[in-house]
Symmetry: C2
Subunit: 234 residues, 2 copies
């Protein structure tokens, strides 16, 4: 498998450019990113076999992508449950939570509920940390990631497997054996995706740039089919 990657530093700059000179709002980009995550999940783990999804949302934009994905998963026929221990205090994120509550999607809070959800879910969405993650992994996320790994459920990572160094991969001892079953890279794969196990599947989503813009940043646009918002790298 051969594809171009974008280093964490450049991914941050690209994101900044999209939301400044390119005129996108974070609302738009997050909506399309989360939708592409939900579509990728549908292609690999359809709701008929993986109804119950536990969505783990972190405190930043990666968590926001998870919240959007959860809403679309509900519309696609899944039963998502959300764990969002450190909600971001910004209007966009407040709105995403309100939308989910409108959809009667459950937010869990206690450790008991969480343990039960790890047991009963068919699928975990890891939307804890994205391309701006830097070690160490702080509480409560270190024990949360350990629980996730030990659950032996199917794991879908949003953009970056949480705890992995974005450029180097799984270098922290605690998450050394963590491999998601499905990684959905957003816009373009980050260097750590080169450390994915052979058995892990790898999609690209976040279909919002055109070939010329991609070329300027030295990345490839994957070969999206039709109106699909995601595509598997093979």
């Amino acid at each position: 498998m051969s594809f171009k990657v974008i280093a964490s530093k450049h991914a941050a700059l690209l994101d900044q450019e999209l939301m400044s000179t390119c005129g996108f709002t974070i609302d738009q980009l997050m909506e399309l990113a989360g939708l592409s995550v939900a579509q990728s999940i549908y292609k690999v783990y359809p709701p008929s076999t993986h109804t119950n999804c536990l969505i783990l949302c972190g405190p930043g934009n990666n968590g926001g992508d998870g919240l959007v994905a959860a809403r679309h998963l509900k519309l696609f026929g899944y039963k998502p449950i959300i764990y969002y221990p450190k909600p971001t205090k910004r209007p966009l994120f407040d709105g995403l939570v309100t939308q989910l509550k409108l959809f009667n999607i459950e937010f869990i809070s206690s450790g008991n509920q969480l343990s039960e959800s790890f047991n009963t879910c068919d699928l975990i969405v890891d939307a804890l940390f994205g391309f701006s993650f830097h070690p160490p992994i702080r509480q409560p996320f270190d024990s949360l990631i350990s629980q996730m790994i030990q659950s032996h459920k199917k794991i879908v990572a949003v953009d970056v497997p949480s705890g992995w160094d974005v450029d180097e991969g799984p270098v922290i001892e605690q998450i050394k054996n963590y491999q998601p079953d499905l990684l959905v890279s957003l816009t373009a794969p980050k260097p750590c995706s080169l450390k994915l196990a052979d058995k892990s599947r790898h999609f690209v989503g976040g279909r919002f740039i055109d070939p010329q813009f991609a070329a300027k940043w030295g990345i490839d646009l994957p070969n999206y089919k039709g109106t699909d918002q995601c595509v598997e790298l093979t």
Copy 2:
């Protein structure tokens, strides 16, 4: 064909509720609405046969849906050209224009360019007026709609065929014979869609409410397939 419709007054209230108590931003809803229009077009008029699209954008949110659709159409392989004679002076709309310019999508301004585009396009997207339209049709839109009708090109109407009374249909003399080839109703069909000709195709897009919310407003959710953002009513 049997489906529930939502009167213009209620459509406006539903929209208000989505963007207040439900926590959605207009950026999110417009992104999903425009995407669903582009997907509907792809299903009926694929880019292999209908490459050149002339997108006519009005001064309100219907025009914004057209701007978003144009961007997705470009990503799907079309060559959109935009006519947007009365740009809305709001940051969201400025941003949508900036995004399109980043994608090297042409905006035409002169009457000559417009006449040429009517001649050379394969498809027209009518994103002039939506569910808040009230007669009369003011300049420059009255002559624009006449030109559109007289072009005899395929026409895709966004939410409401422009100039039609949202609840009554084509009552104004000037547009009495206007029938779009494809109507994409957003969220739910408006009453005027009952006046669509038998030969017109009818899709519903704007997949952002759940069955319970739909029931509260007395509308049906169409039977979306998989992760599709639109579905044909048959």
